[in-house]
Each structure stands twice: as structure tokens, then as C-alpha cells.
Subunit: 306 residues, 6 copies
């Protein structure tokens, strides 16, 4: 098989590629690359090769619904085609790959446009961690001439909140950074809370950076609307079939490098925010109630369930 | 005036002395030292000197109810005495000072004994930040032969949770450390939550390390008893008269040394936990409802209100 | 353009026509009138005229989703038709207009029949403001021979509750009127709470007369089912695209004619009731969970999203 | 008409056949039997006979949505067929009947497989009453080699919890039985709560054995996920049209045989659990949010609404 | 008996004197007047006369704890005195009466000073109805140079909110008036909510103008501190002995003069706010938890319980 | 030692004497009996004998605060007396014993009178289990001529609700009995909920028959006032010192005599109701907030803390 797939899978495993979006894009590009240089002579061989690539990529990280849906969709194009000519099939993979990337980009822009309408001039936005979809949405709002402030948590252990802060300052937005524990003290100053998502479950819950569910609870307590900003393809069909969204546990070194060896360190990367704490899911289909997300998927992306 | 008072006030101002308990002890010792070397010849001069010392110490940090009550009590001993002989009065300050220190020690031990009874064998205790009263309580429980686990947050920005973790390991307690944002994910594993206090307000609310009120909310959400462990003299009589418990705002450097200069950094040191989230206040008078703490103070320490 | 459209738009602007239903009917009739007397000679001219009428009517009041959907639907009939004969097109507008009015009437009756089944003999119904769909529903229940009582708020500032009270008395229903502030004192006496709606958002929230969301909260606190009774076409597709449901602010004179000039008077006409406080949305499709209303719209009125 | 229908209706009326599933199966078999021995000579006569059977069976117990949907579906097969030959029509009833039974069995197995994935090794499951779908799900989890414990209530007045307990012990599961009132004391020990369902309303609420809604509330209070395990065909289309799910009131003798005659005894068999207390509905379509169940029905079983 | 008592009782009955404070002051003055012109010759006769005055005043309005405590206290002074000379006893009534009035004035000023400390510069205060203690408190804060805004409800049916609004404007405070039903829409803009009280129950609940308990609930929902500002003598000892705080029902004409005669109109003047919704009770003893108010009364006004 | 003490302790151990009140009375009578027949010749011997009796009685059941306080108080009378004559001391025990019994009776009557005032004519009272103080209170209300209904749970496993039902019927009260699990279905029909108490903790929580805390939660959910009716001496001073109120675990046979031997049966007799769910504690001191019960004890029964 193409080295590209192997290398990409390795990069994903080692967290050299991070973020649901980036992981999916890397995997899609690896398939594209595989299609360009495959030596398969028959439809059957090519499909076998694609299946092996899929297995490798799926095994690279436990829960990456966007990446999995992307790969499944591209391979399904080939399987569903009647074409027997391998060149045509490799072309199909390449165009499908490009189409997927394009669609993801279009979705992101559409989400940003929709979400930007919820950012009012003179308001204060509270956010947690870093999400390129969230920051793009805020950038669009800024470009529309709106003045607003952003409060962001530092987001331990990896301090992604600092990235958010820097981007906001670059957009000319007044920005305040706090430790995660100060969220309850500051959230009363905010008008609206927005976070991204790593996965969406069939019940309508959201998996996102550790601490997100606490922020959601605090927003609810302070009667502030809490929005999740995400592409619908973060939906994980495995949860529909009873699979728990597995929470990745990262290295103890991220938290305390010199920790005593007998100390247990727990470092879950994500937590689950209940649909009942989410005011709306801002996605490419508009602003929806997360309670109906599985039905929206059936309407918009029925192939996810195949 | 004695240099000791000036130095102590300076150390408190510069956070070289920290923790409500340590600050109060340092101030009390400074008064003791002042009494030992005073050159005052008359009762009136000595009282003037004491008043100046009080003003200096009170001005050293905005909210230190324990220290304030300690100093007020010692000086009141002198003012209430009919004694005119300065030597007798300095002796009175010294014995009062020792008495106060003794009482504080006795209170701590009594609190530890009472609280230790709430630690069940085989249970899991969740805590936040570092409180010497809390860790003493856990040590007593350990010394009684109980086996239990402790989960502690790292407590950003100053990582006091690491101190708690080290002490727990030293007591032979199985200990787990997490980032503050992971509290909601782990609190379901706990049986009981305990924290210390920096101040107690007249309405029965508790001022403690930033993040404590979020932990209390999460404990409530997960139906886990949340206890505050504190000497009653942390009660702040100024709140009774309408004074807000002022929340100290610390240096931005504690959070992010290399932060962009245009970034606002908010670093409140404490937050306020509502009495309604507190299962019980473990104090030297026993385990009480925080709703009645002002009446308990009237019964046990009526001089605080003078 | 036909004067009728201009006059209708003016009447809507000046609140001479009120209520989502009445506004929509007036606008639909204005289009009908326009079609009857248009002088347009070509399909293109007629469509231009219709577009101008639409712009005028849309501009007459900020948020009237039912009216907007009605007009859009009628004009779409013309645009989607291949017909080039203007007479045929004007006929199409007239029949579409009549069809819309008919459907609205059918929906109202269907809603009344469905909702009437939730009115139990011997029960007490609590309502707020005046909604012709709600009162029709109660009339149907009364006509079925059920005995029940109604408690209604007076509904400041315009006292629409008095209209509801008079209608109820005319139906022979024992009726009690209270000030809005007494809702919490009386709601425990009720078995069920019903209100109408001015708009439905994509997240499943309901926009209705100011005070409705408080009644919903009180119903929830007292564990009484809170129903919203509304045609599905009150759904506002603009909210799907991020548009906030704009809350109309009415004249200060409605509240206090002789108010001191330096006094600020805020007079928002509506508020937003969260889907989580709504037991069920009684609509022409039956009694549904508001959380899925956007998907119901996609199934029943897909043209709304075009 | 065939005696079988009459006898079955009688058995259902007298509670000799119990449980939504068993009642539906008995009714379906009665139709099958009717088809086998009918003496109808014409399509019209056969349909009349089927209609009479339907009326008899529908009248046997007030609320049995599964049975009603089953019968309606089978009869609709005949009505929708153009066939005039009675033999073919009786065959159609027989195959439809078998198909329905088969589908019900397949659904049950699919639900068990999906739900079993939510049972974690080493976890504690809390349940109420007895549901063959729930116990099948736990059996599948056990067969997968998972070790878990079950806590079950005795479920007054008919002690169905004892049946659950015996089945669990037979599967080799460590089982604890408690009185219903001890649920709040023990639920903190559980990781997950699962119950069955007798009916599902159009708003997404669940009708199940008396006490279920209290268990749901306690699970919510203790932050434990509460799952309802049920075939989608328990959905009751009558609720969509405003019909209240009627709660059966059983004999006072079930509660206290020797009760004084002047004592009122209320013995409601079921209660209603709000969708907001339900973490997920585990059904043949996967784990879904109950808020969207009516839309799921429209997608999967559209004939239910005809 | 003196006409003054009879006239005062009549004025109270006819609501010509209103407000717990004014009613108490009028009654106290009537006793003073009675003492000045009494023709009683013996201690026994004077006490009889006082008792008759008490009975008359107590009967004038159902629940006026402040008035009742005032009268009881004054008469108790006479009863507890060993004095037999009637002139001395009338003097005792006069000085007691003046003392009570003085104390009430001192309490009000002390409450205003304490409460004013909770009004922060730049903050927004939300209030309901009119309370002279609340407006005095805001005036003190204003006199201290603080800038703040006030939002007040109009307070149907008697529009006392307009009085509050006018006073605020006179103090130079930016003021916004809304209908009662708009409280939920505006309360998120406030920093703090303050209301007065008509009575305090032994459980710590507060009786105040109809609508107050809803405002308290909304404040709690929006996480805004809700303070009750009141003299402790509003405490009603009858509630301790099981007496319900009777809620006065006023004339239907206050709500709708031209109401149809067959319309029931309910016009409760007050409602009860639970202690759990009250952040603090601002009284002459400081800011306390209402949960301990009965113990505070035992400490400060033990004679109330005699 | 006297056989009476030994026999009484045995009866308590074997549950032949039940109910906090009955247990305390039996123990007090045993001391009385001991005093009557003691052969002690010296004060010292008599005190030793009393101490042995105390140890025996204390050991008879784990948590009986009323009995423990009763015995402690009687013995303290002897210890605090300077009397050396044994006859005088035995007389002291006898009079103390009678005084205690008398006081308990007076308290019960006073509680019944106070509580009866909260029973309104025409209202519905919900209760759980059987408490002689609660039924006495309802009897007093009935004797006052009030008509009301009672709903009572059967109270598994020992069906004490049937005793309550029979007593109510004997008082001529319309009574409804339900299974414990039906409480949520019926509580909306009630106006007020009342239960007794077995113990009161220092934090203000109440220990009562298993299921009480669920009833309290349901009352809170349905916004119905929940009262606890109890003598203050149920207060357990051991909880003040950190002692957990130990929950007695009774025999499995009470639940299921023929239970499979491998089945675990948990049968906790009591549960703990949080102070926050309790509207008021109806005790001999009046109706108080449970949050201040420890301070009430310090005021009324200070000897309990010695």
C-alpha cells in the first residue's frame, strides 16, 4: 500500500495531526494519494487496497467520527459504482476526496455565516478551548463590523485557550483570558457561550474538550444561551448502535511532568455535554435543537447510516 | 513602633505569608513581639502603639477576617482591662497572643477529629486546592486506620493541589490528580467532597480558592455531600454590616507570563460558595448548617460583633 | 401597484391589524386583490409587481413568520409555474390565496379538535393573553359538553385577558381573572396551562405575548403541563439561518400615558419560552415535542425552507 | 366469528395475558387463527369479519398501542390488496401475522444487542419491575462475558421485581432486591438505570409500571443515565391526536385484601415519565432522543399514522 | 375610649393608612393619644382601656405583625410595671410610644446604611412595588455618590411602582419602568434585586406585595442575588404557633371596574417568598440568612415571644 | 442491677418496643423502676448502678437519640445534685423520670395543637408511614371540626401505612391508601405533606422511615409544603461531633420470606431527608426552619450538649 496512508495513520496516532477536522482532511488526502499511485490492476484489488487503508486509518485513533464518515463515504462511492476500469475508479476516489474537502469547507463557511448572526454588536462571548469553526464564526462577525468582547479560558492542560486569545486579538477583538476555574465568576458578564465539538452522539449529546460540560452547566445556571458550533458529520453513527463515545485518556506528562511516580494522574481529553444544556447546535443545516440531530442526519446525510 | 509589625505587614502584603491561618498567626506574633519591646511608658501610649500596629496590619491585605478578629480581640483585652501599669498590659498582650494561638491550635485539632468521623473506610474523598485543616483532618482519619482514596484538582494558577497530593501520598493515601476542568468527569467516583475556607460571610456563604463554588455546584449536581472545613473565626463581621467580601485579584503573571500585552487577564483568587450548596460546615462547634453561622458566632464568640 | 397592498401594509404597520393570524390573512387578501386588478401584461411584469408587494408587506412589521410564509408560498406558485399567460397567473394567485386561507381555517379547526381532547371534564385551565386558536379549542371542548373553569391573567399592558374572559363567559365557562403578578399564587389551582404563539424558532422555542415565558416557568415549578397551541406555519425559517427573533418594542403610552418624560419605559411585546418548559406543541400535525419542530416542518411544509 | 378471537379478547380483559408484547402476540395469533378457519366467501365478508375481530380485541383493554398497531397493520394489508380471492386474503393474513411476529422478535434481539453495549463490565445496573426486553438485553451482555450487578425493586403491588431477580440469578448475575421506597438510598450505588415501556406518547413521554417516573427522577437527581428499552411500535398514535394515555386502575385487592371497606384504595398500574428525564430510548432504530420519536415513527413506520 | 383609637382603627380598616410601617406608627400614636386623655382613675381601669384599644386595633386588619408587636410591647410595659399611679402609667405609655417610634426610625436608618453598601457604583438594581425602606436605602447609596440605575415594575393593580420610579428620578437615578410580566426579560440586565417585606414568618419566609415571589424565582433563575430589606419586627410570632400568614384579598374594582358581574376576580394583595430564594435579609441586625430569623428574634427581641 | 433495665434493653434490642417515643418511655420507666428497688447504699454505688443501666440501654439499639437524651438527663440530675442520701437520690430519679414523661406528653400535645393550625378545612393531607405525633395532630384538627382527606402510602415492608389509615378512618376522615410507588401520581392532589421523625441531625436533616426522603423530593417537585412533625429531643448530639446517623438494616424476611438464598436483600429502615426539602419543622418551640435547629437546641435544651 501507499506509504502516505501508513504515514498519515502514524501521525494521527502520535497526535501530530490534531482536531477532528484536520484528522479527517489528512485521512481524505491520504486516500487521494493512494488512488493516484495505486498499482492495483482490477476493481477487486483496488477495493481490497482501499479496505486495508480504511482499517489502518480507523485504527489510528479511537473516536474520530468525521474521519470515519469521510473515508466510508469515499469508499462507498467506489463500491456503489458499476465501473470496472481501475483508472476510472481511482479518478472517482480523487474527485470524491476533493468533493469531500470542498463540502467541508463550504459547511464551515455556512456555519460561520449562520453563527455570526447570533453575535450581537456590543455583546460579550464566552468560549472554551480552541475551535477553528468557532473562531472563523467570530471572524465573520468581526468582518461584518460588529464590536464584541471575548472571554476565553486557558484550557488546561494544553492551553489551547491561548491560541483562541491570540486569534481574537489578531481580529481586533478585546479579549480576556482566565483560568478554567474562574469560569463561574466571569460567565455572568457574558451574553452568550459558544464552543466547538469533537463528536455528536445519536441522543444529541456533544463530546468536546474536557471542561466543556462544566461550562455548559454554568451557562445554564446563569441563564446564558450555550451554543455548539459544528459540522453535522461529527455525528458518530456508532453511538446509535449502543457504542459509548470512548473518551481518550492522554499522557500524565501533559499535566505534571515531575509528578511523583506513585501519584495517579487522570487526563481525560473530552467530556460529554448533555443535549439539555445546549441552546442550539449551529451546523450547516442551520440552528437546530440537538434532540433531533439523528433525524436531521437521516434527512441530510442518509449514507452515514448504511 | 516595633520593626516586627512593619515587617510582618510587608510580608503579608507581598504574599510571603499566605493562608488565612498563617497570616493570622504572623500578625498575632508581631503583636506579641511589639509588646515585648515596647518603649511606651503609659497605658495611653501603649494603646496608641497597638492601634497603629492594628492599622498597619489591617491595611496589609484587604480581606483577612481571621487576622482582623485576632488582633481586635487581643487589643480589646487591653482596652477592657482597668490596669494602668504598662508592664502588666504588655504581659496581657503576650498571654492573650499565646492564648489565641493555643485556641487556634485546639480548634484545628477538634475540627480534624470531628471531620475525620465523616471519612468512611473504603470511601473516596474529592478536594480542591490545599487547606492545612483539611489535610490534618484526613491525616487523623488515616491515623485511625481508615483506608480511603483522595482525588484532588491541580488548582490553577498556583498548583496548590500538588501540595495536597504530596501530603496525601506521604500519609500513605492512594491519590489521583486531575486538571480543574475534569472535576465533573471524576466527581461521580467520589463519596464526599471537602474544602477549606478563607472567609465566612454573615449570610452563611463561604469564600475560598477560585473554583471552589464550581466544585460545590458539581457535587450538588451529582448528589455528593459537600463539606466546608473551617475555624469559626474565619467569619467576617464586616459582611454583616453590608460589606462585600472583596475578592482579591492577583497578578496576570501567575496565569501566563508571556501573555500578549494587549490581552486582558483576570485572576480572581477566590470565589463565593452559596450556603445552599454546603452540606455542613465542620467547625470547632461541630458540624453545623452554614445558614445559622451568624447565630453560632453570637453564642460562641460574641466579642467579634463588638 | 394596487392600493390594497399599500393600505394593508400601512394597517399592519400601525397595528390596526393585529395577531399573527389576522396579519397573514390581511396580506393574503391584499395579494388576491392585487391579482384581480393588476394591469401587468407580461409574466415578468406581474412577478415584478408581486415582488414589490412582498417587499412592502414584509417591511410592515418586523417579525411575522406566518404572513411571510404565506406570501412567499403564493408567489412561489407563480414563479414555479411555466404558465406565461398573465390571466392564468392571476387566477393562480387567487386560487392559491383562497387555498391558503382555507388551509389556515382547516388547521385551526384540527388544532381545536386535538387540543380539546386534553381538556378534562372538571378541570381548571390557566391561560395568558388572548389567542383565537386557544379560545376556539376551549369552545370545542365546551361544545363537547365538558365542564371546566378558566383562570386568565389580565395581560398588561393592553388587557387582552379581558377579551379571553368575556369569550369564556359567553361560552358559559366559569372564569376567574387575576393580575399577571398573581399567576404564581393561582397556578397551583390549575390542572393545565395553554397559550398561543406568535412565532416558533428553529430550536423549538416559542415567541408569544410578554409574560408567557414566566407563566411557563411557573407551570414547570408547579408541575403543571404547559401546552402551546399554534399553526405550524408560525415557524420562522429566518431563525434557522441564525436570525434572532426580533422582539417588537411598543409605545410607552401603552404602559403609562402620563409618565415623567425622563423616565425610561421599556415595553417589549413578546418574550421567548424555551422548548424545555413546553409539555407539547398542539398543532395541525398533532401534539408534538417542540424539540423536533424543524424536522416536522421539513416533512410537512418543505417549501418553507426554499 | 372464530372463538379464538373471543377467547383471546376475554383473556386480555381478565389480565390472563399480560405485558404489551404478550398481548400483541396473542391478538396477532388470534387473527391468524381466524384466517385459518373463516367461512367467509367474499372479500367483503372477510373484511367485515376482520373488522369485528378488531373491534373486539381493541375493546379488551384500554391502552395497548402495540396490539392495536399490530392488528391495524395486518388488516390494512388485506384492505390495501386488490385480491378478491378469499383464500389468498386469508393467506395474506397468515403471512402478515407471521411477519409481524418475526419482526417483533427481530426488533427485540436488535434492541438487546444495542442495549448490551451500554452495559459496562464491572458496572451496577438499577431496574424496576420486569421487562422481557430489559432482561434479554442483560442476558446478552452477560453472554458477552461481562460481569455486572443488578439492583431491582420488588415492585409493589404485584412483586414483578422478584421475577427479574430470579432471571438475573439464573444468568449468574449478582442481584440485590429492595423495597420500592429504598430506591433513593441505593441508586447512588448504580451506574445506569434501565426500564421497559408499555406505551410511548407523541410528545416522547413513556408510560410504564407505576413507580417508573419516580425512579427516573431519582436517577436524574443522582446524575445517573436513565434508559428506556422498548420496541418503537409501543408508540401510541392516539396521543398524537390529543388522546390522553389512559392509566389503568387495577383492583384494590392487589394492594390490601382485608382493607376496611370504607377505605379508598387507588391502584394505578402505570405512570408517565417525562422525556426530559430519559437519557435515551433504546429501540430497534438505535439509541435515540425520545424528543424525536414521532419523527422516527414517520420515517420507519409511516403506516402507523394512516 | 378615646376617639383617636376608634378613628385610627377605622382608617386602617379602610386602607386609608397603608404600609406595615405606617399602620404601626398610626396605632402607636393612637395609644399615645389615648394615654394623654384617658379618664381612667385606677391602674386596672387603664389596663382595661388599653386592652380594649388593642382589641380594636388588632381587629382592624388581619395581618399586621409590626403593629401588633408595637402595641403588645407598649401595653406590656404597663403590665410589667409595679406602678399603681395612673399618671405615671400614662407617662409610661407616652414614653414607650415615643421610644418605639424612635427605634423604628433608627432601625430604618441603620438598614439603609447597611444595605447601601451592597449597591455598587455602576450597577443596576431591580425592584418591585414601593417600600420606603428600600427607597431610603437607595437614597443613601445615591448620597454616597454612587451612580446606579433602577428597573422597577409598575406593580399592578395599584401601580405603586410609579411611586418608586418618581422617587428614584427625584434622587437623580436613571430609572426604567416595565410591566410586571416583563420582569423575566429585563432581570438579566440587573446586578441585584431588592424588595421590602410586609411580614416575616417563623420559617424565614417573607410576605410581600403580590408578584414578589415570582421576581425572587426569576432572580434565582438568572443567578442574581435577591435581598429582602426589612425591620426585624415584621416578624410575625403567630406563624410560630402554626398560624398561617393570612393573605388579604382586596376589592375586584382595583383590577377591573367594569368587569362583567359573572366574572370571578381574585385580588390577593401579597404572596409568600420562600427563604431559599432569598440571598439575605437586610435588617437592623445586619445582613442575615432568613433561615435563622426566629433565633435572631429570640436574641434581639425576646419579648415578642411572650 | 434491676431486672427491669435488662428486660427493657432486651425488648428494645428485639424490636418488641418500637418507635423513638416508645423506646424512650420504656427506658425512662426502667430507670424509675431501678430507682425504686435499688439496694445501693451510697451515692457512689447508686451512680455506678445508673451508669451500668445507661450502658446497657444505650447498647440496645444503635440510634435512639431521644432515649439517650432522656437517660442522660435523668442521670445528670443525680450527678449534679449535692445530695448524698441515697433515698433522696432515688426520689430524684423517680421525679425526674416522671417529669421527663410529663414533658414528652406536653410537647406532643403542644406540637399537635400547633400543627393542627396548618390543616385547612377542605384540604388533602399526604403522609407516609405511621407517627403517633402526626396522627394526634390530625386528630386535634378533626376535633376542631375541620373536614379534610388523608392520602397515605402503605409503607413497605411493614405496612405501617395501614395503621395510619385505620386511625384516620376511626377519626372519621376520608382516607385513601396507595402503594409507595404511586406517591408521585397522587401527590399533586394533596395540599400539604406531613411526616414524623426518628432523629434530627445537627445540620438540620431528618432521619425517618425509608421512603420519606423520596416523598420530600416529590413534594418539592410538585410545590407542596413538606412538614416534619417531631419533638426537639429527637435531635442527635452525636451528629454534631461528626457521627453519622447510622441507618439500621433490618431482616430480609421482612421483604421476602421465600427469597432465593443467593439473592442479596437490602432492607434499610430509614433514610435522610435534607433540610432543604423541609418547609418547616413543627416542634414544641413552634414551626421553625430546620437549618437553625442546633441553635434552637442550645437555647431550649442546652444540657443535651454537655
Amino acid at each position: 500500500m501507499d506509504e502516505s496512508v501508513r504515514i498519515t495513520a502514524e501521525q494521527i496516532r502520535k497526535l501530530q495531526v490534531q482536531g477532528a477536522r484536520n484528522v479527517a482532511l489528512a485521512a481524505v488526502k491520504a486516500l487521494h494519494s493512494l488512488a493516484e499511485i495505486t498499482k492495483a490492476k482490477t476493481r477487486k484489488d483496488f477495493i481490497t487496497e482501499l479496505s486495508e487503508a480504511r482499517d489502518l486509518l480507523f485504527a489510528s485513533r479511537e473516536t474520530e467520527p468525521l474521519m470515519r464518515s469521510a473515508i466510508s463515504w469515499i469508499i462507498t462511492q467506489v463500491e456503489d459504482s458499476d465501473e470496472r476500469n481501475v483508472t476510472e475508479l481511482t479518478n472517482l476516489v480523487c474527485t470524491s476526496s476533493q468533493k469531500f474537502q470542498k463540502n467541508l469547507q463550504v459547511s464551515k463557511e455556512r456555519i460561520a455565516e449562520i453563527g455570526a448572526k447570533r453575535i450581537r454588536d456590543g455583546s460579550v462571548i464566552f468560549t472554551h478551548c480552541h475551535s477553528s469553526t468557532v473562531t472563523r464564526m467570530l471572524q465573520v462577525a468581526r468582518n461584518e463590523g460588529k464590536n464584541f468582547e471575548v472571554i476565553c479560558t486557558e484550557t488546561r492542560p494544553a492551553f489551547q485557550g491561548r491560541i483562541t486569545a491570540k486569534e481574537m486579538l489578531a481580529f481586533g477583538v478585546k479579549t480576556t483570558l482566565i483560568v478554567d476555574s474562574a469560569a463561574r465568576s466571569l460567565i455572568n458578564n457574558a451574553d452568550i457561550v459558544v464552543v466547538g465539538a469533537d463528536a455528536i452522539t445519536s441522543e444529541g449529546n456533544i463530546v468536546n474538550k474536557i471542561g466543556s460540560s462544566t461550562i455548559a452547566l454554568l451557562a445554564h445556571e446563569a441563564r446564558k444561551p450555550f451554543y455548539v458550533v459544528s459540522e453535522l458529520l461529527k455525528f458518530d453513527p456508532a453511538t446509535l448502535c449502543g457504542g459509548y463515545e470512548k473518551i481518550e485518556e492522554r499522557s500524565r506528562d501533559e499535566i505534571w511532568k515531575e509528578a511523583p511516580s506513585e501519584l495517579h494522574v487522570r487526563n481525560p481529553a473530552f467530556d460529554v455535554t448533555s443535549r439539555d444544556l445546549i441552546h442550539g447546535l449551529i451546523c450547516e443545516e442551520g440552528i437546530i435543537s440537538p434532540h433531533s440531530v439523528a433525524e436531521v442526519m437521516h434527512r441530510v446525510y442518509p449514507w452515514v447510516f448504511e
